[in-house]
């Protein structure tokens, strides 16, 4: 099954309106055939199918506006079209169930993890797959990647010897040419370059989707120079996926915006660990997912935020904006990035309710089925790097919030307890990164101490 997603049609675009499905559910589509139309700011765009197959699911109705990279439908590559009926039903046994196809098994709940946070759009595939070939003067067919490389590095393709089928210029040819040129300019004996593709090889390298964007600054392109310094074949250049670019921007933006300071408190989780141990089996049986430490931490953070609402605020110019709602973002690691879905009104939820939200949001984050509003409106964030074994880290604030709480791994340690005895206790570190523009150290520590107090003196029932 191939996901069909809302593509990103430009830098600043975060959502698009699906104006028209050009195929119906059950219709056969060819790769690159126009599948649906979207509308963004007076521009209507036809979006081609990412693969050939049968449009097996349609999740977004015409006229709906969704965030970029939202899954709008699915293509079953093995489907044979509506006419064949039965095989389709076989391969898609759950018709009309909607987006929630995944979260059925009570697996150990995917624990959201991440070392830092930020609400990013998940990357969208380029709106069109790379063309196989397009003629370019006397050069024969050139792949978009080759053209892009030629443009980017100002290469005269007439100077490049093609090794592909029919003398076609491949990516490897361009790389070999650049390496040779680079070696020349360095006045060194050229290292043997990668052997050219055998003629029998598939015509075009399976090019990464060309995501070339003109460099924003008019400065001369540095890549060619950087390229020349590297010995042949010792580097590989890849464009960053859009999600990576967004994360990069977001992180640097946050670091530029806030005065980041991190304070770390050690918390005795023994009591919570015992409660969890005691209720684990029954909790799993009742709810279908297991009980982790995270909802306890969220609950403790909520209590602390109630007492110190300035940590639930944001800065607008010289104003402090206090948010009445406690919407807690939970950082979830994805395969190649992260996203921070939000538990809205987290203060109205019990530990069970919080655990349910965490499991639901993180599962759907990974299957890319979050709704746009579910990654918006966060007022405070929590990141659970402990699930990767980290003891403590210094997370980056998720703008425009002013603080983020990081949870380290809960470990049994030898501790000095009352009466100067040594005992085995479950402990973890809570790391609070706060924006020193608004919050001073003393307050940050009072906040964290409050969360610690709630956890160490847990009194709520969890079942």
């Amino acid at each position: 099954m191939i996901d069909v997603v809302m593509p990103q049609m430009g830098e600043s675009i975060v959502e698009g309106t699906l104006t028209k499905w050009l195929k119906k559910k059950g219709d056969r589509v060819e790769r690159d055939e126009p599948l649906f139309e979207i509308s963004t700011d007076k521009v209507d765009t036809e979006i081609p199918a990412p693969a050939a197959g049968v449009l097996s699911d349609v999740f977004v109705d015409e006229g709906k506006t969704v965030a970029i990279s939202t899954v709008v439908g699915k293509i079953d590559e093995n489907g044979t079209g509506a006419i064949a009926g039965a095989p389709v039903a076989e391969s898609a046994p759950v018709p009309d169930v909607g987006p929630s196809v995944t979260a059925k098994t009570p697996e150990p709940p995917p624990e959201p993890v991440a070392s830092s946070a930020g609400p990013y759009p998940i990357p969208a595939p380029e709106p069109e797959p790379a063309h196989a070939a397009e003629p370019e003067g006397d050069l024969g067919p050139l792949s978009p990647l080759v053209r892009k490389m030629a443009r980017e590095y100002s290469i005269d393709l007439h100077q490049v010897k093609g090794s592909g089928a029919g003398g076609r210029i491949t990516k490897q040819d361009v790389e070999a040419y650049m390496s040779a040129q680079g070696a020349k300019t360095m006045a060194q004996s050229a290292q043997p370059v990668a052997p050219p593709q055998p003629a029998a090889a598939p015509p075009a390298p399976p090019a990464p989707p060309p995501v070339y964007q003109a460099p924003p600054a008019p400065a001369a392109p540095a890549p060619a120079a950087a390229r020349a310094e590297a010995p042949a074949g010792r580097t590989r250049i890849e464009p960053m996926p859009i999600m990576r670019q967004r994360i990069a921007e977001h992180m640097v933006f946050s670091k530029h915006t806030s005065a980041h300071v991190t304070t770390v408190h050690r918390v005795d989780m023994t009591k919570v660990a015992k409660i969890r141990e005691r209720n684990k089996a029954e909790f799993q049986q009742r709810n279908g997912f297991s009980l982790t430490f995270l909802p306890f931490v969220v609950r403790a953070a909520v209590e602390a935020l109630r007492q110190y609402p300035i940590l639930n605020a944001s800065i607008d110019g010289t104003n402090i904006v206090y948010h009445n709602d406690l919407n807690i973002g939970i950082a979830v690691a994805l395969e190649n990035g992260l996203i921070v879905p939000v538990i809205a009104n987290a203060d109205e939820k019990t530990v069970t309710g919080l655990q349910r939200s965490i499991v639901d949001l993180s599962t759907r984050a990974r299957s890319r089925q979050l709704k746009p509003q579910e990654v918006q409106g966060g007022t405070f964030s929590i990141t659970n790097f402990g699930s990767f074994g980290s003891v403590f880290a210094t997370p980056v604030i998720n703008q425009p919030q002013v603080a983020i709480l990081g949870v380290g791994v809960v470990e049994k340690v030898a501790a000095v307890v009352e009466g100067d005895a040594i005992a085995i206790r479950s402990k973890c570190y809570l790391a609070l990164t706060f924006d020193h523009r608004l919050i001073d150290g003393a307050l940050a520590d009072q906040f964290t101490a409050k969360a610690k107090h709630v956890l160490e003196n847990w009194s709520e029932s969890v079942l």
Partner: protein, 226 residues
């Protein structure tokens, strides 16, 4: 841009032409542009009275029934461009850029903003201070719309484009709520410019080339690709 060399662009002024005919030419050029058979294109046209509806258009923004329009000598088309309803007619300079945005920027918003800029720069040459209104695509002078924009994109190749009211009979806009916005329209003429169509078209083409880093030229064979 990393490449300083301007990309070629063919410009044709097709003069007065019916909307349907111009649309057919656009679609033909779009297909050829997608196939890489031709460079970027800019068509300049002038339409006879026509009201067109974009894909997201709302029929309620068309204030007259089709029979009323027919009696007034106005044709009506539903099209695949973005935006709501608009009017084209004599005295209006309509531009249809057929650009492969992959050669420029893969960004539809940047494209629309750039087209707006071309018109703003052109109007400045004729001493008209125009600008943008946030959330209302188009070019505006003192709260009145002087140019409308609506674009269709397929594989990053643009069709449709902009319509600048040079010396348009603005009374024809009474039949519609332009672009679904209940805001007044204006023209260069109404704003005090006596510039002729040729002058304005030349300036538009020049600013268009500058904005999109194109080397414009008129193709020798005007009819060959049509």
């Amino acid at each position: 841009m990393s490449n300083a060399v301007p990309r070629p662009c063919e410009v044709r002024d097709l003069g007065r032409i019916g909307y349907g005919e111009a649309l057919a030419i656009q679609k033909d050029l779009e297909a050829k542009r997608k196939a890489g058979e031709i460079p970027d294109q800019l068509l300049i046209v002038e339409h006879s009275h026509v009201i067109t509806m974009g894909r997201n258009g709302h029929m309620e923004n068309l204030l007259a029934g089709e029979d009323v329009l027919r009696r007034a000598g106005i044709s009506f088309y539903s099209t695949d461009r973005g935006g709501d309803v608009t009017y084209h007619g004599p005295g209006q300079i309509v531009g249809y850029p057929i650009l492969d945005l992959r050669e420029w920027k893969r960004d539809v918003v940047a494209y629309v903003r750039a087209v707006e800029q071309v018109i703003v720069d052109t109007l400045a040459e004729f001493k008209i201070e125009a600008g943008r209104v946030a959330g209302c695509t188009g070019v505006w002078v003192d709260g009145k719309k002087v140019a409308a924009i609506g674009v269709h994109l397929s594989r990053w190749v643009t069709t449709h484009g902009f319509a600048l009211n040079q010396d348009t009979d603005l009374s024809y806009f009474q039949y519609i709520v332009p672009c679904g916005l209940a805001k007044p329209v204006t023209s260069m003429r109404e704003l005090g410019s006596k510039a002729g169509r040729g002058e304005v078209t030349a300036a538009l083409t020049r600013h268009f080339a500058e904005q999109f880093q194109l080397a414009v030229h008129q193709p020798v064979e005007l009819t060959e690709t049509i």
